[in-house]
Symmetry: C2
């Protein structure tokens, strides 16, 4: 019943991952999300409840569908270095003040340790942290 959804929820979630991987949570406004995702404000709130709801959905999707496969698929030469950016941002600026994010990130880091070993995991994070500095817009 009712008019069918005009957008793909998964596609929007994936696009949100891309946006949140570049700008920090506080640096990305709802207007930015509306424009960047091409989805109306109403639909965003109806679907995800709030900005934070969208963020958590995107973060979970990213951890499950972007990060996890990279770890099981063997090895350290990451195909896309930017694949760590959302993890970095979430760890540095959200996790310290959001227990739910802290829990998710903590689990992800444990998986990273299990897959690569703690030293390699830490070095990988440090490397991507340094690379992000010269991120082009």
């Amino acid at each position: 019943m009712g008019r069918p959804r005009g957008f793909d929820e998964q596609a929007v979630t994936r696009a949100a991952v891309a946006l949140f991987s570049r700008r920090a949570y506080d640096g990305l406004s709802v207007d930015d999300l509306v424009n960047g995702l091409g989805v109306h404000r109403n639909s965003l709130y109806k679907t995800f409840g709030s900005k934070r709801g969208l963020y958590l959905t995107a973060l979970r999707w990213y951890l499950d569908h972007d990060l996890a496969p990279l770890l099981t698929s063997g090895a350290s030469p990451f195909p896309d270095p930017a694949a760590l950016d959302l993890l970095l941002l979430a760890a540095v600026e959200q996790a310290p003040f959001d227990p739910e994010v802290a829990s998710l990130i903590g689990d992800a880091l444990a998986s990273l340790d299990a897959a690569l070993g703690p030293d390699a995991a830490t070095a990988l994070l440090g490397l991507r942290l340094r690379a992000r500095i010269n991120l082009k817009e």
Copy 2:
């Protein structure tokens, strides 16, 4: 001439370093700064020009007076691990979109490399990044 300043500019700068080391730039409002620093809004703007001006002043002070001495003083066992937090935050969330910050952070990382070697420097950043996740309020 005029009434003398009621606060120590250096002390305020140092306090601002502490505040910006915990909360991200966007997560710290001018009201937070006014309350946390105990300095009136007027004095803040008169002295530092803007929120960003205060941030840059604090960042420079931190790089010159907090980080640099740690590097020359020999060695890797950092006395205070939190001494890397402002560097981390600036690198992850400010540097990518603020060339001035990017330049400062780039120089600081070069110094870190020179003092510890690139691998140790990267590992140190990764370690502190991980530690920050469970930062207590």
